[in-house]
């Protein structure tokens, strides 16, 4: 999870992020950020995300939970 938070902070262009942070609250939240996250999840975690998957998660912690669910499938 710590590693994931670091990667998310880098993509969102901030110093640090917390699991409770709302994804859409970031200034850098746009289609480019979504694509960058999808690419990171594919390359580093081997999971395939669609843009629509982001509709069912609000916080970074919820996103991480969905990554783990997809990975265990």
């Amino acid at each position: 999870m710590e590693e994931f938070l670091k990667k998310m902070a880098k993509i969102l262009d901030v110093e640090t992020v917390a699991a409770t942070d709302d994804l859409k609250s970031f200034q850098t939240w746009d289609s480019l950020t979504v694509l960058s996250i999808i690419a990171m999840l594919d390359a580093d975690y081997g999971v395939n995300f669609k843009a629509a998957d982001f509709n069912q998660v609000n916080t970074i912690g919820e996103l991480w939970a969905l990554v783990k669910t997809k990975k265990n499938k």
């Binding site: 746009d30 694509l35 999808i38």
Partner: protein
Amino acid sequence: MKFIFRNKRIAGTLIVLPSNERSFVEEMKNFNFPEARSLKLKEVMGYNKRRLVEPGVCVSDLAIFGLKTLFEREMLKAEEIDALLLVTHTPDYLAPPTSNVIQGKLGLKHDTFCLDISQACAGFVIGLIEAFMLLEQESVRKVVLINADVLSRKVSPKDRNISPLIGDAAAITLVERDTSESVIHASIKMDGTRCEALMIPAGGMRLPCSPETSVLEDAGDNNLRAKDHLFMDGTAIFNFVQVEVPPLIEDLMAWAGISQNAIDYFVFHQPNRFMLQKLADKMQIPYAKMPSNVVENFGNSSGATIPVAIALNLANQVQNGDLQVCLAGFGGGLTWAAMLMRLGRLAFCEMIDYP
């Protein structure tokens, strides 16, 4: 679906680029996004310059300009052309075929097989497959394959999703029989269930162009486009490429008995630098073996990008030497295709400006 062809080759390729150049920095004021985010997009995707036709310029204009250049330079004789294949999504008319229009304007012989193929990003590999099939016929000795699109005319300038990456170009490739023993392997797959990921909704019979289809609408992501415009679901296309392309190529290499190390260059369709580098990472291909610089120089011209990448990066090597290449195209349809072939002894491989 797999194909094998023997004793066929690419004899040369000529790229026609509109001389009109635009820069991303100039254009980004059209987008409804903070400047810093657009600059971030530029950095990540590798956007910089692109080439666009002037208003009113059509695919046949670019193609005829290129073919006349080849005739003038005596690289090709008009009477030698037995087949004229045009791969495009932006024909001059709904009817007749633009390939017939080109044939007529150039006064080519009646014994010319003209065919328009409605394919885009995978269109170079598809065009080569068609050309090789035609060359199996006794009567066909030389095929001219034209990959040309003027997609800039079908893109909303207020759509940051796609506008900054699109460029216009025509690639004219001469395909002929090879006297030396050569084997070409190809593989192609299609999935029409995902066709809406990359489409121009209006303009055909299903939804003819009308005042309503030309109205710009916010799709909910700050991008404005009309139904007359090309739409791309960027993340869906990204996923499609990362998931489908590597296994297609791995399977093709195994079938052909050619290892990844034996391939000198992976010349792929050029959607943008980001997508190509992610593909290279996934397939563990060194960046030096996979050109990704077409979009930053000229924009993504759909089916023409593979020959553009060859002319931009490998012109000297394919004219004076001989390379083992893996070509791959992927996109609209959805269609994904790859080809393993030798590329060398090209009589011409260059880029010219139109007009």
